[in-house]
């Protein structure tokens, strides 16, 4: 499918609309794959890399279920084009356990029963770890405000907040 090639003079480096080689760096590994430019980071992770831990909720930037880190910052993978992530480090829920040990935030979610259906949980955990790194979790109000981009329809918020507080207050800082 040719798109607008007739009106666009030579801009070299235009890619697509067909599949193009793309190299994604996810959880410390390099993945050479082929993607159309319209593919979101979320779909690239789930459909092309089989990293289905990151969830698709609203697919319009409202619910936070798709939260991942790009260069260590939490972002919404549904509103990010995979192609724009080339050269950047993507981190997903699959990458946070170390040496077979759950990340302290994962363990705290288990210990505090911080989920019911679990669908929002990967996004909640990616957001929660980033929140502590950002240093804006001093008060309960801070936690509520800075976790507001992650919706939990099971209403597990009190337990999610308890898990975050526990990791925040742990001696090793999580």
């Amino acid at each position: 499918m040719a798109i607008n090639q007739s009106t666009a003079p030579a801009v070299t480096g235009v890619r697509g609309p067909e599949r193009e080689p793309v190299t994604l760096d996810v959880n410390g590994s390099t993945f050479p794959i082929e993607l159309e430019p319209r593919v979101s980071l979320l779909d690239a992770l789930r459909e092309h890399l089989d990293l289905t831990g990151t969830k698709k909720g609203c697919d319009q930037g409202t619910c936070g279920a798709c939260t991942v880190w790009v260069d260590g910052r939490r972002v919404l993978s549904c509103l990010t084009l995979a192609m724009s992530c080339e050269g950047h480090q993507v981190s997903t829920i699959e990458g946070i356990a170390q040496d077979g040990e759950l990340h302290p935030m994962q363990q705290a979610f288990v210990d505090h029963d911080a989920f019911q259906c679990g669908y929002c949980t990967p996004g909640q955990i990616m957001s929660a770890i980033a929140l502590l790194r950002e240093g804006n979790a001093t008060t309960d109000a801070d936690i509520a405000e800075h976790m507001s981009g992650n919706i939990c329809r099971c209403q597990a918020y009190p337990n999610i907040h308890a898990a975050i507080r526990e990791v925040r207050d742990a001696d090793d800082g999580g």
């Binding site: 499918m1 798109i3 607008n4 009106t7 666009a8 003079p9 801009v11 480096g13 235009v14 890619r15 697509g16 609309p17 159309e36 430019p37 319209r38 979101s40 697919d59 319009q60 930037g61 936070g64 939260t67 910052r73 939490r74 972002v75 919404l76 549904c78 509103l79 990010t80 084009l81 192609m83 724009s84 080339e86 050269g87 957001s127 980033a130 929140l131 950002e134 804006n136 509520a144 405000e145 800075h146 507001s148 981009g149 992650n150």
Partner: protein
């Protein structure tokens, strides 16, 4: 929902970005993408070439020679909100940024993109209802539709869509300037002229040429802004657009008179709304609740309301009076 096929170009320089978009009438810049990717997927906007400007060296904040701050267009909302020079000199702007969206979205969204974000009007976003902003001449579904969140100031009989930005409210109060690079070079646009009221052409929101890229926002030196504040009233405590928001920066002299005042409103205008009438009504007058109320009355005198959004008149007036009263007592 699957997005239409697109082509993609990662711009390596500002000149490349401007050239690529200028050369293709169906192209658009791609910054943080928080509105743009959403609207692309919804089919509301239909560019076929996205020119990615995220790699451009425009993420800086720096002092200007005149004592203000220049904010690179690709600086992210979360970084600008917490930059010490913004927190110290323009706290109300920092608050406006942090009260917008969620931390994930603030990490993505750029300052330049924020200036270009589109309305949240449901009829614009649904991709099919008559909407003069999306499809000129098709009509406005909001005029007699569900319009509780819609604008009461700066409206026209063509469009009553509310401008959604918080930080833009701060920037109009601060008399910021938008710097752009286009095919003909750099130009500067006073920010109030950057946001066009709908009038007869709601689809034209900014005085930008196709291919003209925002490269920076200049915020002038303004000592009174060191005491600026932003308050946002909305249906939820967080992660929601404003019904009414107020940016204020006021200095009261030792006689109790308003010596300086910058006031702007969000959630009520088709553009970020600088409250010029209220400012003029208060400058030189005693800083009393009665005078604040009279100034608020003047600002809202021409409000264009419908049954569902008429509450915003009283809401905005009370928000202004409460905010300025709190400034006096703080």
């Amino acid at each position: 929902m699957t997005m239409r096929p697109i082509t993609f170009f990662r711009a390596g320089s500002i000149d490349d970005a401007v050239a690529a978009v200028s050369a293709n009438p169906d192209s658009a810049f791609l910054a943080g993408g928080t509105t743009e990717i959403d609207l692309l997927r919804l089919g509301v906007i239909q560019p076929t070439l996205l020119v990615d400007v995220n790699e451009l060296p425009l993420t800086y904040l720096e002092d200007t020679e005149s004592g203000g701050v220049r904010i690179g267009a690709m600086a992210r909302m979360s970084d600008v909100a917490r930059a010490p020079r913004i927190v110290e000199r323009y706290p109300g702007m920092s608050q406006a940024l942090l009260l917008g969206a969620s931390e994930q979205l603030r990490n993505m969204a750029s300052m330049g993109g924020n200036m270009c974000q589109r309305t949240r009007c449901a009829y614009f976003r649904d991709g099919r209802s008559p909407c003069n902003k999306r499809e000129p001449g098709s009509g406005c579904s909001a005029l007699n539709g569900v319009n509780r969140g819609h604008a009461i100031l700066g409206t026209s009989d063509q469009c009553i869509a509310t401008h959604p930005s918080d930080v833009a409210v701060a920037l109009v109060a601060l008399d910021a300037t938008v710097r752009t690079m286009g095919p003909d070079g750099i130009r500067t646009i006073p920010i109030e002229q950057f946001f066009l009221r709908p009038e007869d052409t709601p689809s034209v929101e900014h005085p930008l040429e196709h291919g003209e890229l925002i490269v920076a926002i200049d915020v002038p030196d303004l000592p009174v802004a060191r005491a600026s504040r932003y308050v946002k009233h909305r249906d939820r405590a967080s992660y929601e657009f404003a019904l009414v928001s107020v940016f204020s920066a006021m200095r009261v002299d030792d006689k109790g008179n308003v010596a300086e005042l910058r006031l702007a409103l969000g959630g009520v205008g088709t553009v970020p709304w600088r409250a010029h009438r209220a400012e003029e009504a208060l400058i030189g007058r005693p800083a009393t609740p009665e005078n604040f109320a009279a100034a608020a009355d003047a600002e809202l005198a021409d409000a264009d309301t419908r049954p569902m959004n008429a509450f915003k008149v009283t809401f905005a007036k009370r928000a202004i009076v409460r905010e300025l009263s709190q400034v006096v007592t703080s």
